[in-house]
């Protein structure tokens, strides 16, 4: 298991270099002088020279990339152009909001998705099954930000139960979590249902029935337990999507967070901030996938063989 974890971590290195290279290149691919993209208009020639020296902008692109990486590992992501503060500080301020929102949404969609999928599987081909799966299809096709806006309209504007926007206290988390969670729920419910139906047809389940075990025990302790393995795999893949959802939903609810920071930076062409946010999001996706893979390997030893070639 430790060997697998180490190998899996090593495999992440080339991915990190490739992704960071692309994000580094953004400043150089945008038309115009990279210095103009990294500093505010009206900067003194001295400030420009300082910046050029720090990033080695007169050196070959290859060297610049490693200088940028070296600064990165020192925790220096440059200064945001518009708000004139270090990018690292801005990210550190906003990250906790995104993490809270993301993890709560993940919990919500896992819990609701698994319960919905399991209920549908137990009542297979009945009205309950069709109703749940119909709702699930609806949830997966409606764009997340529109659900968010409708929830705001219904529960914040009309009923006044929750705040419309911002991040003050727990009540402001309810609608955003619901919005992201509903999107993720669909997929998890679908996977749970298919996996449970698949396992309920296995021989050992037939044996348990023959032994006279009560049906609810079989459903929960034997079928659902085995069905959770593919669910975890999908969840791991979903971590990235939930982060993507968080980007959108934060913006809808005008919550502080990485997503809102990124969209604002993109609209203001604040490239150092864009680079910092994209890098953080990419790292989060990579770590999410890593955690998912490790969890899966811990549960299902067979999946560790995938790296033994």
């Amino acid at each position: 298991m430790l060997g697998f974890a180490a190998k899996r971590l090593l495999l992440l290195l080339p991915v990190f270099f490739a992704v960071s290279l692309i994000i580094f290149l953004i400043v150089h691919l945008v038309p115009g002088d990279p210095i103009d993209n990294l500093i505010r208009i009206g900067a003194t020639p001295q400030q420009r020279a300082e910046l050029a020296a720090k990033y080695g902008l007169d050196k070959p692109l290859f060297e610049q990339y490693f200088l940028w990486l070296a600064n990165l590992f020192k925790g220096d992501l440059g200064d945001a152009i518009v708000v004139r503060r270090p990018v690292a500080t801005l990210i550190a301020q906003n990250l906790p909001y995104s993490l809270t929102l993301g993890s709560l949404a993940l919990l919500f969609s896992t819990f609701v998705g698994v319960s919905a999928g399991a209920t549908a599987a137990v009542h297979r081909d009945s009205l309950v099954d069709r109703g749940i799966m119909g709702l699930v299809l609806l949830g997966s096709t409606i764009p997340g930000f529109w659900i968010g806006l409708l929830l705001i309209l219904a529960f914040a504007v009309q009923l006044g139960w929750f705040p419309v926007s911002g991040a003050r206290g727990w009540s402001s988390l309810v609608l955003p979590v619901l919005t992201i969670g509903l999107g993720g729920t669909a997929l998890i419910a679908r996977v749970t249902r298919v996996a449970m139906i698949d396992i309920s047809q296995k021989d050992f389940i037939l044996l348990l029935h023959a032994k006279g075990l009560p049906n609810w025990r079989i459903q929960i302790f034997h079928i659902l337990r085995h069905a959770l393995i593919p669910v975890i795999t999908v969840l791991a893949l979903r971590i990235g999507w939930i982060l993507g959802g968080a980007v959108t939903v934060e913006f809808v609810f005008a919550r502080p967070g990485l997503g809102t920071l990124l969209i604002k930076a993109l609209n203001q062409r604040d490239y150092p901030l864009v680079q910092g946010c994209l890098l953080m999001l990419a790292i989060a996706v990579m770590l999410g996938t890593l955690i998912g893979d490790l969890l899966q390997a811990a549960m299902d030893p067979r999946s560790r063989d995938a790296l033994k070639s």
Binding site: I22, I263, N267
Partner: protein, 283 residues
């Protein structure tokens, strides 16, 4: 597997879901094409005294903060949404099929590089890939198109490659090769046509996702720039009016949702008609 177009079409339209979806989508496409004749008002001429009026006989879906007719803007927005997602996904499918077929058929170092890049992008959500791309080329309708195309490239490359790999060892392909057919002939005349049905269905489902992605980028203010109306852009402007004129947000969003649901219904009935569920949507 040969696909008889008539019978497949018949089976799709004969299912209730497929029929409703076909009629709805045909209407949206018709409206998008003839938007200039069908829209009751101009999409850009402002009429400030009429700002934020609720739905009425004169303005069926109300007016926005500049007094522009919401219905007319939705009709013109359909053109933007469809154009962006259809062009983006078409380009993505063509390039993805080419890359996937080459790497699946040729194998070797080319296959390794393509697979590595595809696996790399596969784990990242499409919205993140699209945002990275928009960061480079800037906001606008054409960069949204390219961003969506690139975001879905991995999916089609992967799908085509898997199809080619499974078809490559069929007896009829071996027979064609032993008769002296070159790689270009084998790939374009035999492998790709047979790999096509699941790719077409996947392309269709991706077009639905493309509409959502376009609306999302538009909502961020990064999509088609004013005065060109887009569903996402309309909702983006509408958020400021959420207390006074919620219809500015409700109706464009409804159109996005209905279009995507219709595309998914049509896709599902196509999957059933062609019997290719395991290839397109493996649980």
């Amino acid at each position: 597997m040969t696909v008889n177009a008539d019978s497949t079409f018949y089976r799709v339209v004969a299912s209730p879901g497929g029929a409703i979806a076909t009629v709805f989508l045909a209407t949206v496409i018709f409206v998008a094409i003839f938007a200039d004749w069908l829209a009751p008002y101009s999409f850009e001429i402002q009429n400030l005294p009429m700002a934020n009026t609720p739905p009425s006989v004169a303005h069926w879906l109300g007016t926005d903060e500049f007094g522009r007719d919401v219905l007319s803007r939705i009709i013109h927005g359909a053109r933007t949404s469809l154009k962006v997602s259809v062009v983006a996904i078409s380009v993505s499918v063509c390039v993805g099929m080419f890359l996937g077929a080459m790497s699946g058929y040729l194998g070797g170092i080319f296959d390794r590089i393509v697979t590595a890049v595809v696996d790399l992008t596969w784990s990242f959500p499409e919205i993140l890939i699209a945002l990275i791309f928009v960061a480079i080329v800037g906001a606008g309708m054409y960069s949204t198109m390219m961003a969506i195309g690139i975001a879905y490239l991995a999916q089609f490359t992967r799908l085509t490659r898997a199809q080619i790999l499974s078809l490559k060892n069929e007896t009829y392909v071996e027979a064609t090769v032993s008769l002296g057919a070159g790689p270009r002939h084998v790939v374009f005349a035999h492998l790709l046509p047979n790999a096509l049905p699941p790719i077409i269905v996947a392309a269709m489902l991706a077009t639905g996702d493309g509409i959502i992605l376009e609306a999302t980028l538009g909502f961020f203010g990064l999509g088609a720039q004013p005065p060109i109306p887009s569903w996402g852009g309309m909702m983006s402007n509408g958020t400021a009016q959420i207390f006074t004129a919620p219809w500015i947000i409700i109706f464009p969003g409804l159109m996005v949702a209905l279009s995507v649901i219709a595309i998914n219904m049509l896709g599902d009935s196509l999957i059933r008609a062609l019997d290719i569920r395991s290839q397109v949507r493996p649980a």
